[in-house]
């Protein structure tokens, strides 16, 4: 289990020591592949029925942790594979110098390291430290280009997220205080808190949960505390945008989930549900409006991340078997769909020199492979069948309908319609139409092509059929969250 965390850390250090360019690129690739392999193995043992295990009370792996680890490490692998081609292109065009290029790989490994610590942590203060660590490392990555815009985005990002997460720490302290009021001693271990949840003072826990959802919600990009997100996602290098959007937001949401489980037991489901619905629906509606008027596709995708985090929050708030399953499945699906779209825009920017709406035309003609996959990504992200995001959104709607939350369903569907129109308006013109004559040659390496293909295939396959192993893992994770 510790290998999953140790490998990225080790590779990060090696990246600083090894000066040879292809060497550190492939080291990163191998490192993330290994970490991915180990977390798959870990998930396998969990499915096989090995009970949740703890290590020194600080770390713990249960089904939910191993599920998150799989999502995190596999996506990191995809991103590091895509990075090789993309960052070489940036290096050749003078966007970054050789030294920054090397730092990029060291930082990306460090970033993965901080992210894999998040689901492993059993101690909630360690969880907090890991989430704060992700902010610090990724802020350096967001500001990598050292242009005015990227520095501004990074500054905003680190400031807002640090302030937000300060509130999360206060919430963590208050949970500790609440647990000190029970029969046992004060504790920050999630397992112990979960066991003592019913004895804690509901008023105290309510206050803690509000602070937590504001704090980690800032990091997870929930409206109305999302303001850093569009800037950071649009100014970061494309692979980093994919990492931020695909998994970092989920790491922060994972923090919320863990606290929600405790709060659910102490204060009853209604309280958690009301808060989750408020944040969820606010995110979906707000994002849909900004998607409609957005002129830059990278920012549009960033707002789409807010929308999807809103959907995950909504499904989680719905609760019950359907809602929780939908929430966890949506985490995976979004982690496939959003990086795919970011990678596609990365390709488009390399070829057409622009990602503005209306500034690019005819991608399907100039680069059919990227165009088709991009179109799949658009359909998937807007929740069209037969792609996997449709499945999880449908499950959420089913959960909502069973709970009788018709007004939420109505608002959600209306917002989805707006999102669909916004996506089509932005990307329709981009994919179709006659391309201009001065398009640069596509800079496609075989590796990044394979990454795109796998992500697109994942979207389609999981939309049609969920493998038994995955199904069991998610069901077991639902047991952790709902039990």
């Amino acid at each position: 289990m510790f290998l999953i965390a140790a490998i990225p850390l080790l590779v990060a250090i090696l990246c600083l020591l090894v000066k040879d360019r292809p060497a550190y690129e492939y080291l990163t690739l191998a490192g993330t592949a290994l970490a991915g392999g180990f977390s798959l193995y870990l998930a396998w043992t969990v499915i096989e029925g090995v009970p949740a295990f703890t290590a020194g009370h600080i770390f713990q792996i249960d089904a939910l942790s191993s599920y998150m680890l799989v999502v995190i490490t596999l996506l990191s692998f995809a991103v590091s594979a895509y990075s090789i081609g993309y960052m070489r292109h940036e290096l050749e065009h003078g966007e970054v110098d050789a030294k920054t290029h090397r730092y990029y790989y060291a930082l990306i490994n460090l970033f993965v390291f901080t992210m894999v610590i998040v689901p492993m942590a059993n101690n909630l203060a360690v969880l907090w430290m890991a989430v704060e660590g992700t902010t610090l490392v990724s802020a350096l990555l967001v500001g990598l280009y050292r242009k005015r815009e990227s520095i501004e985005a990074a500054w905003k990002y680190i400031m807002l997220c640090t302030v937000g997460i300060t509130f999360a720490l206060l919430g963590t302290f208050i949970i500790y205080y609440a647990s000190a009021g029970t029969a046992g001693e004060g504790t920050l271990e999630w397992t112990a808190l979960n066991a003592a949840a019913r004895q804690m003072n509901p008023a105290t826990v309510k206050l803690a949960f509000i602070l937590i959802i504001v704090g980690y919600g800032t990091k997870a990009g929930l409206a109305p505390v999302h303001n850093w997100l569009p800037d950071a996602h649009s100014e970061a290098p494309t692979p980093i945008s994919a990492l931020l959007s695909g998994i970092l937001l989920n790491c922060a949401f994972y923090g919320i989930m863990r606290f929600a489980v405790i709060t659910d037991k102490t204060c009853g489901h209604q309280f958690v549900q009301n808060i989750m619905f408020t944040f969820g629906i606010a995110s979906v509606v707000m994002a849909s409006i900004f998607i409609l008027i957005q002129g830059n596709t990278k920012r549009l995708l960033a707002y789409s991340s807010i929308e999807h985090m809103g959907i995950i929050t909504l499904s989680f708030g719905t609760g019950g078997a359907y809602g929780l399953y939908a929430s966890l499945l949506h985490i995976l699906n979004h982690a496939f769909g959003k990086p795919l779209m970011f990678f596609v825009t990365g390709h488009i920017r390399a070829m057409h020199g622009s990602v503005e709406v209306g500034g690019v035309k005819g991608v399907l003609k100039t680069a059919p492979f990227v165009g088709v996959l991009g179109f799949i990504g658009v359909l998937a992200l807007t929740g069209m069948p037969p792609f996997s995001l449709f499945l999880s959104e449908f499950l959420m709607l089913r959960g909502l309908a069973e709970g009788g939350h018709w007004y939420i369903i109505f608002v959600f569907l209306a917002a989805s319609g707006v999102v669909f129109y916004g996506f089509m308006r932005a990307f329709g013109g981009m994919f179709f139409g006659v391309p201009p004559a001065d398009v640069r040659k596509p800079v496609q390496s075989r590796l990044s092509g394979a990454v795109l293909f796998c992500l697109g295939a994942g979207l389609l396959v999981f939309g049609l059929y969920i493998p038994d192993a995955l199904d069991r893992l998610i069901t077991m994770s639902v047991g952790v969250v709902g039990g």
């Binding site: 520095i151 501004e152 206060l170 302290f173």
Partner: protein, 220 residues
């Protein structure tokens, strides 16, 4: 035991109110060095509070927490910030968005709001009661200072003050976290300050100033 508590009560209240005053003082301070001094004072008071409580309550791990706080927040972070300020060559905060009297009024309103909303005693009582109110006030006033200032460095100081308030809150609720946790959180904060310092010099290079009202290209 009762006598001990009385003693702890009054002296902790005294120190934490001093911390609150040092934050309120930030509202009226223009020179960056003085802001830094206010922060240093604030941190020293926090360390003192921990030390005093450790002495009265006779808890060993609070001594460690006090010493670590003194070392990082009282010495290392102010030193780093002073270096950054020197290299940036900023000395004064030019006209904040909100003038001094108004910001003092807003700060006092914040304190009143915190005291009245937390006074119902829904969940906290005893030793922690006053300190918690003070710490929440510190957090909110620091947040207000962060929002109302233009210089990036003052924002950093506001953020650090906020974290001091947070530590005070954590301390008042729990008599300090387990030492390992405290060390980890402090380490994160130290890294944060270093990284913010890096960004400050980058802002200076890219924008030829550290006024944040120039950072307005990203909207919508």
């Amino acid at each position: 035991m009762t006598k001990q508590w009385v003693a702890v009560y009054s002296i902790t209240d005294f120190i934490s109110v001093c911390m609150l005053l040092s934050v309120v003082a930030l509202n009226s301070v223009r020179r960056i060095e003085t802001c830094l001094r206010a922060y240093t004072l604030n941190s020293l008071l926090l360390a003192l509070l921990m030390g005093v409580s450790a002495f009265y309550l006779n808890v060993a791990h609070l001594y460690i927490a006090a010493i670590v706080t003194l070392a990082t927040k009282g010495l290392v972070i102010p030193h780093l910030l002073r270096k950054v300020v020197k290299s940036l060559k900023v000395t004064r905060e030019v006209e904040p968005y909100i003038n001094t009297p108004l910001s003092l009024v807003i700060s006092s309103i914040l304190v009143v709001v915190v005291y009245s909303s937390l006074s119902k005693g829904i969940f906290i009582e005893g030793f922690a009661e006053n300190t918690l109110k003070v710490s929440v006030s510190i957090i909110l006033i620091s947040l207000f200072i962060m929002m109302s200032r233009k210089k990036a460095i003052t924002q950093v100081i506001g953020l650090l003050m906020m974290e001091n308030g947070l530590f005070l809150a954590g301390f008042s609720l729990t008599y300090g976290m387990p030492t390992v946790i405290e060390l980890g959180v402090l380490f994160d904060m130290l890294m944060g300050v270093i990284i913010l310092g890096v960004f400050l010099s980058q802002i200076k290079k890219a924008f030829v100033s550290v006024d944040l009202d120039k950072l307005t290209t990203l909207k919508g």
